[in-house]
């Protein structure tokens, strides 16, 4: 879920922007030119992935897949998500210039942390891989929901109820995302193990 422009307080906006700059710096420094192309095309794939709608109960939600992105790209998930969000702003006017930093941190930071946490599990293979992949997907979405809710709640106490509802809405999405991440990781392990292997071996992508 993006936060629209004009909602958050300056403190939250610029705190988020500063954090995003740190993340972007880290991500870009680790990114060589021979890997840029892979990150660019995977960003495009995730941009498209986030347009995929799946039914969740009576409703219909689009995938976020930030966990998978963190898993495959590591810290490069920061520039990747930043670019995807900027494109969404340009093409659909979701989000915007001033909330770009906050939205990037909301999506990328939980993804990177969840991936760091779950990589050892996924590298073990078998049941541990399934558990790790599920946790990676679910924790990333839970973290994204938590960060978004926190940004709203820190802005004004009037938004606390909206933040709580937002967090609650993330629970079913979290389970579905975990499941999809599990299935996709399983698929990648069968079809193109090198994609996962490179991500897990510390050499993020390519």
């Amino acid at each position: 879920m993006h936060i629209s422009e004009g909602v958050l307080s300056p403190a939250v906006l610029y705190g988020g922007a500063a954090l995003a700059c740190v993340g972007l710096g880290l991500g870009l420094r680790k990114l060589d030119y021979d890997k840029l192309m892979t990150v660019a095309i995977l960003s495009a794939a995730f941009f498209v992935g986030s347009l995929i709608h799946v039914p969740i109960g009576p409703a219909n939600a689009h995938l976020i897949v930030n966990g998978l992105l963190g898993l495959l790209l590591g810290w490069a998930a920061f520039p990747s998500i930043f670019v995807a969000l900027l494109l969404q702003a340009v093409l659909f006017q979701f989000g915007g210039l001033t909330v770009l930093g906050v939205n990037t941190v909301n999506m990328a930071l939980p993804a990177v942390l969840a991936a760091l946490l779950c990589r050892p599990l996924i590298a073990r293979g078998g049941k541990a891989r399934m558990l790790g992949a599920f946790l990676c997907g679910a924790l990333s979405v839970a973290g994204a929901g938590l960060c978004t809710a926190l940004a709203l709640a820190l802005t004004d106490e009037g938004f606390v109820q909206a933040a709580q509802m937002l967090l609650l809405a993330h629970v079913p999405v979290m389970v579905v995302e975990g499941g999809i991440t599990l299935l996709t990781v399983g698929f990648l392990a069968k079809v193109q193990p090198e994609l996962l292997h490179n991500a897990l071996g510390g050499r993020e992508c390519a």
Partner: protein, 256 residues
């Protein structure tokens, strides 16, 4: 797959230097996002409306974009005025729900600011083609790698989008219809995985092709921008308006 209905045009805004437009958009957005008072926000909304009118956008896409943005705002309207906050004056109460003045004020301010910012973006940034935006970013000291990433992500979003559409069509031809079951999630997960595998392979092919054509890590562009006197005039007018908005905001907060 993704159209840019505002990018093409011959209006005054379209003829301005993209670097100036992007810089002014960033500066004005920052000013607009930090105002605290309704009169200043309304002034910003007025200025943004003038800019949008100057850019002469197609009306239907404009209204559709505005509607999408206001969905989030609507969500806030549904929750915020009804949440209880400390000891603020209560306007009305219906059993469990309590309507407060503070909540209403907050919602109104956020609505005006949000719409002003989106209109500003639509007028100044959405009016340039995405590649132009990338080149303008490169000339405004955005890191080279980030611009590269932005331009190539944009380039391949269309290709990958078509790939996904093809896989989706193939699934539908085999009788796939999304429901609430494991099968649906499995198909979605596998299609996503297939898109990733193909993207990964495509990235390798494209990168090798670029190396063959002598890519050395530097990204050169044939398009050059030239600032004209009217760009300076536009820049000054916009910045003056920003200062005016800040002054009104300061006056409202501290002096009234």
């Amino acid at each position: 797959m993704f159209d840019e209905p505002f990018a093409a045009g011959t209006s005054l805004i379209h003829s301005l230097d993209p670097r100036i437009r992007l810089g002014v958009a960033v500066a004005c957005s920052i000013v607009c996002s930090i105002v605290h008072s309704l009169p200043a926000a309304l002034l910003a909304l007025g200025a943004a409306l003038v800019l949008v009118c100057l850019s002469r956008p197609p009306l239907r896409p404009l209204l559709r974009r505005m509607a999408v943005v206001n969905i989030f705002i609507l969500f806030l309207w549904l929750t915020v005025p009804l949440s209880q906050q400390g000891n603020t004056p209560v306007l009305a109460s219906y059993g469990f729900f309590v309507l407060t003045q503070q909540g209403l004020d907050l919602c109104l301010l956020v609505t005006v600011k949000s719409n002003a910012l989106v209109l500003l973006f639509l007028a100044l940034v959405a009016t340039m083609p995405t590649p132009t935006l990338g080149h303008a970013m490169a000339q405004l000291a955005v890191p080279n790698k980030l611009v590269f990433l932005f331009l190539f992500t944009y380039r391949y979003v269309h290709v990958i989008g078509e790939e996904w559409q093809r896989l989706h069509n193939a699934a539908r031809l085999r009788g796939f219809s999304p429901r609430n079951n494991l099968h649906t999630y499995r198909v979605a997960g596998y299609i996503l995985g297939m898109v990733l595998v193909r993207s990964y392979e495509r990235a390798h092919r494209v990168y090798e092709a670029m190396l063959l054509r002598g890519f050395n890590g530097r990204f050169t562009s044939v398009s050059t921008f030239q600032a004209a006197p009217r760009d300076a005039l536009f820049c000054c007018t916009a910045l003056t308006t920003c200062v005016l908005i800040m002054a009104v905001d300061y006056w409202e907060i501290f002096c009234v």
